[in-house]
Amino acid sequence: MTPLNETESFVLLRLSERRFAVSAGDIAELVAPSRIFRFPHQTKEIEGVILRRGRIVPVIDVAARLIGKKLTSRRFYLIAQRRYTAGTEWIALPVTGDCELISAEMIPASAADLPHVAGWLSHDGDVIEVLNLNALTPGPSPAPLSAPAANTVRQEAFS
C-alpha cells in the first residue's frame, strides 16, 4: 500500500516574470503599497519601513537576491512572519503581481540547493522554489526553519 502524499498550502508570489512560493502559515496578509518611511541604516536589503495595523514593518526587497535585479515597480506588499531566535516579527516583501493560494506537495530541498530554498513544488507545469524566509531575509543570526510558530510577536519596547 502506498502512503498518501501530504499536501500543504502555499502562497505563490510573483517577482517580475518569476514565481516563488512561501508556506501559507508564514503569511499574514497581502496589502497595497503604502508610504515607505526611510531613515539611515546599514542593512542594504531593507528599503525602509511601513506602518501596518499599528506596527512598524520593515520592507525587504528580496528580488535582487532571487532574480538578480531590484524591483522597479510593485503591486502589493506580502506581509510575512519572519522567525528569529527572540521571536517572530512581520516583514513586508514587495511583489509585482497577484498572489495565489495553492495546495501542493513540497519536495524538500537538497544539500545542493541554496540556503534560502526550503523546497520545490510543481504547479501549472512550473517548478517553483519554496522560500525559506529565515535564510532569505536579514536578521541577527540564522534561526532554525522549524522554530515554534507559537513564539510571541516581539514588537514593542514599551507601549
Binding site: F37, F39, P40, H41, Q42, T43, E45, I46, V49, L51, R55, I56, V57, P58, I60, R82, Y84, A86, E89, I91, T137, P138, G139, P140, R154, Q155, E156, A157, F158, S159
Partner: protein, 207 residues
C-alpha cells in the same frame, strides 16, 4: 444595587522627545538625554580642532569641566549628505556634542517600538527604536551610540598629550572666555531656547 467601579485603565506612559533634523532627515531624541542646546556660533570660541583621525565625524573637541566633549558631525555619523549645522546638542551622560541642522519641535511619544530585528548592522547601536508621530515613523537615537568605546579611546589617544581627557589643559579651559558650555551662557537665538528648554535631571525616561 451598586455596580462595580469600572476598572481604571493603566496610565499611558509617555516620554518627552525632541524632533530634530540632520541633512533634512528627521530624528528624535529623549529630551531627558539632552543636557543643553547651543548654537554653533557659540562654539567658535571654545572648540578646539583636533588632528585628523580615522574618525572623520569628529573634528573638534570642547573642554567641559574635567572632560573633553567630542563634537560629532551627525551627517557623517549617519552617512547623510553634509549640511550646515546650526545647533549642538550636549548629550547627557555621554561625551558627545551632536551637530544638528535644527529642531523641528518638542513632542511626546507614548510608544517606542524596538528596532525590527531585520535591521542587523550598526543601526542597532544608533537607535533605541522607532516611534510613530503623526503617522510618520521616526527613529529615536541612542545618545551613547554616537561614539563607541573604541572610538572614544582612539579620540582620546589622538588628542594632544597636553590636552588630556582629564582636563589638564588650563590654556583651553581658562582661556576660552564664556565657554559655550558654561551654565550661564546663552543661546544665540532666544526664541529657540524656549523651544528647547533644557530638561532637568529628574526627568524620568520610560524604561
Amino acid at each position: 444595587m451598586r455596580l462595580p467601579a469600572p476598572a481604571k485603565a493603566p496610565p499611558v506612559r509617555t516620554e518627552q522627545i525632541i524632533l530634530f533634523r540632520i541633512s533634512g532627515q528627521l530624528f528624535a531624541v529623549s529630551s531627558a538625554s539632552v543636557q543643553e542646546v547651543r548654537s554653533v556660533d557659540t562654539l567658535a570660541g571654545s572648540a578646539r580642532e583636533i588632528s585628523p583621525s580615522e574618525i572623520r565625524k569628529v573634528r573638534h573637541t570642547v573642554l567641559r569641566g574635567e572632560h573633553h566633549l567630542y563634537v560629532v558631525n551627525g551627517a557623517l555619523h549617519f552617512n547623510l549628505p553634509s549640511s550646515p549645522a546650526a545647533l549642538v546638542f550636549v548629550l547627557r551622560r555621554t561625551r558627545t556634542a551632536l551637530l544638528v541642522d535644527g529642531i523641528e519641535k518638542m513632542t511626546t511619544m507614548s510608544r517606542l517600538q524596538a528596532l525590527p530585528q531585520a535591521f542587523c548592522n550598526d543601526e542597532r547601536n544608533w537607535y533605541r527604536g522607532l516611534t510613530a508621530i503623526d503617522q510618520t515613523v521616526i527613529p529615536v537615537v541612542k545618545p551613547e551610540g554616537f561614539l563607541t568605546p573604541d572610538e572614544l579611546f582612539s579620540l582620546d589617544s589622538a588628542l594632544d598629550p597636553a590636552v588630556t581627557p582629564t582636563g589638564e589643559d588650563v590654556a583651553v579651559s581658562e582661556g576660552a572666555p564664556g565657554s559655550v558650555f558654561d551654565p550661564g551662557s546663552s543661546i544665540s537665538n532666544p526664541s529657540s531656547l524656549d523651544d528647547v528648554s533644557v530638561p532637568s535631571d529628574s526627568a524620568s525616561p520610560l524604561p
